[in-house]
Symmetry: C2
Subunit: 431 residues, 2 copies
């Protein structure tokens, strides 16, 4: 097989076979195929696309380029969730303990974040002592023992995807739906769960700007997962404003704890419960969607979810004291953003607010950046809220950098006007 | 300027500016932009094209990536010709001395061949002693003294083109008309001639298979040259059969000598005279096209053209004796291909016949291959000729390899049938 012939084949609009995709990914991972051939192929894929079968084969080839986590030693149906990335999205922190408290096996490997805020793993590291690196056997044992573990991606999960992603980033081939879908699904397939819910974010704070694009991506990921033998659901949720109120690592753990005590903001609870209800069904615990939602609300309010969170933090070595006093996770140095006019909040550009949090030190602009756990933004308003000029719009938890820029970004991100807007949070479900 | 943004710009179908193209070529030549970004850009160009202005800017940027030959020390109008490559094309060997004998300054830098047969320079090297490498100052002096020099590309002509071409070859981005045009024209612009005739070959023996494609390429090259201040003409000529009868380095010199004595085959003479007449006009020697042709025929028949050839070979150190006894250039070991049926020659697949010559050792399959000067093919027939079964179709001048394969290729390349076909040689002129 000659790589140049495969590039030509794709350039001419033909589908690559399973064997051809496997050849490309195996040899690219080993360094036998140079970057310059792959980038030409990626650009040809931009123009000619890939069909569902090709995307499935690509996802599987990338999954098999590294370790495939075998969760078969854990009884029952193992579940996973993935979000395409939104500002203030701390759903995993809540959903994991919540589901585990209802008997679902939640064996979660999460990534670190690059961008607005940290990833789930960065957030958990704001809890002193919490160990994100477990050996695979310890990870599996913990799930068997207490039903849940949340760890960083161990070892060598889908190295082909890492290599390919780095190349796409510098060759203008990031925004290609079959490649995005294969990239996400390669890691999901390698992580070994039986049932997966994907939360595809839509809106100006998300990677997918339109519902049409988001739906395409969601359908393709569901198809890839299903063709690979997994139970799949995708939901499209709005990212017109940040999810919940709090953005930043410690702040998000704080808000997760509040939510696990039954005091969470409505949008965050709604998304968590929506995803949870699908997974309760997939795990054969409660097939009726509305009854499943009730079960989840109950576990958030009666302490079971929070107690499971205590268990997992304890099992992974975290300091339990901060869970009772989550204010210890936050910076003592505060700054405020005030409304410059009166009216309804009409827009809250989530991406700009995410950038503001990053400038304060909550996220990484480059891989080498240090994250400050205690900084971030607490937004007091949501779209549709009425504010008076001079009201506090946001409290900033700061350290030593980015305050003025963050304030400016937040003010620019908010539009105050006469219209009381309603926004749709859960836009679509794809089974 | 960020390369990834320029790739994105082209991907979205926008034209790159002169500055952007210059930035890309300069930095790619220096190694500041990696191959993998350029190959993605090339594939985007495959799908989105380049307009004439971009192609001109690319050709000029590549020309300026290396030495620009300054021919201004030579009085008068310096001319050049280029063929996109055909089997049996020895026009330069004849045209140069012919034009120089009529007072035109022919300062020619030629490449080596990769493929069916050698390039002009390889062919000239079959003359013992002929020096293809001259210093630029000696090259210029020779043209001033005797009106002609034919040398190899000296120094560093269009290194960006070399680098880009090597990359295109392995990334399925060779067959892109604006890139082909820029590649050819970058070398022409760097070589310094004032007037250029391009011979664009069309047919199954040529790179351009259809007249439509060939015309597009020709028009674009003419436009690039004109926008860069050169007098330009392109002719489209057929490559349905090899040009002339002889293929192979020594054999082509032999046929060139015959032609310079006024004994050339009609098709070879016609193409040479056609190109020559355009250049006589461009050089202000004879503006009337038909009178120019008569001048050229006269110089071929009255010894002036051959005498000029003697002069140039002498000036460049070649053995004059073989010019009087060109049979010394040929192998003594002969093989024959016989007609297997009677009828008219209907097809002579030039590409396959070129391959046959290569198998005998006349051309290079890889850069490292050694060329045998004395081997090749003398075709006794042209399309439209009538042959009887058992007639000799071709004499092979051979050494130690490829004989059986060459015979098979030649027999397969020829179709003998009932139709007496006429083929059109000079298909179009683009001024």
């Amino acid at each position: 097989m000659h790589t140049v012939d495969l590039i030509m084949k794709k350039r001419e609009g033909h589908a690559l076979t399973q064997e051809e995709i496997k050849y490309i990914i195996e040899n690219y991972t080993k360094g036998n195929i140079p970057d310059y051939q792959i980038s030409a192929l990626l650009m040809a894929i931009y123009f000619k696309g890939m069909n569902d079968e090709e995307a499935k084969n690509l996802a599987n080839a990338m999954a098999h380029s590294g370790d495939m986590i075998d969760l078969s030693l854990i009884d029952g149906i193992k579940v996973d969730k993935h979000s395409t990335g939104g500002v203030g999205d701390k759903v995993t922190l809540i959903l994991g303990p919540l589901l585990a408290s209802l008997g679902v096996k939640f064996a979660k490997m999460s990534g670190r974040g690059l961008g607005h805020t940290g990833g789930t793993i960065d957030k958990l590291e704001s809890i002193p002592g919490y160990k994100v690196e477990l050996k695979v056997e310890d990870f599996i044992k913990q799930v068997k023992d207490i039903g849940i573990a949340i760890v960083g991606q161990s070892g060598d999960v889908a190295p082909a995807d890492k290599k390919l992603y780095a190349l796409r980033d510098v060759t203008a081939t990031v925004d290609i739906i079959p490649l995005i879908a294969s990239s996400i699904m390669s890691k999901k397939l390698a992580s070994g769960a039986d049932a997966i819910v994907l939360d595809v974010k839509v809106g100006h704070g998300a990677f997918m700007k339109t519902e049409e694009e988001a739906e395409k991506l969601a359908k393709l990921m569901v198809e890839i997962g299903r063709l690979s033998g997994r139970k799949m659901t995708a939901i499209l949720t709005g990212m017109d404003e940040p999810l919940g109120h709090k953005i930043g690592n410690g702040l998000e753990v704080y808000e997760a704890i509040e939510t696990l005590h039954g005091r969470g903001p409505k949008d965050l609870v709604d998304v968590t419960v929506e995803i949870g209800a699908h997974l309760l069904g997939d795990a054969n615990i409660e097939k009726d969607f509305n009854r499943a939602k009730t079960l989840l609300h109950d576990a958030l309010h009666d302490g079971r979810a929070f107690n499971k969170f205590l268990e997992v933090v304890k099992a992974q070595g975290g300091d339990l004291d901060v869970l009772s006093h989550p204010e210890k996770l936050l910076s003592k140095k505060l700054e405020y953003v005030y409304a410059e006019s009166s009216g309804y909040i009409e827009e809250m550009n989530a991406l700009e607010i995410g950038k503001a949090a990053m400038r304060l030190g909550a996220g990484r602009e480059t891989k080498e950046d240090q994250i400050y756990m205690e900084v971030g933004i607490d937004l007091h308003q949501k779209i549709g809220s009425y504010v008076e000029k001079g009201d506090v719009l946001a409290t900033l938890y700061v350290r030593d950098k980015g305050v003025d820029e963050a304030k400016r970004l937040i003010l620019n991100a908010l539009s105050i006007g006469k219209e009381k807007r309603d926004i749709e949070l859960i836009k679509k479900t794809i089974k």
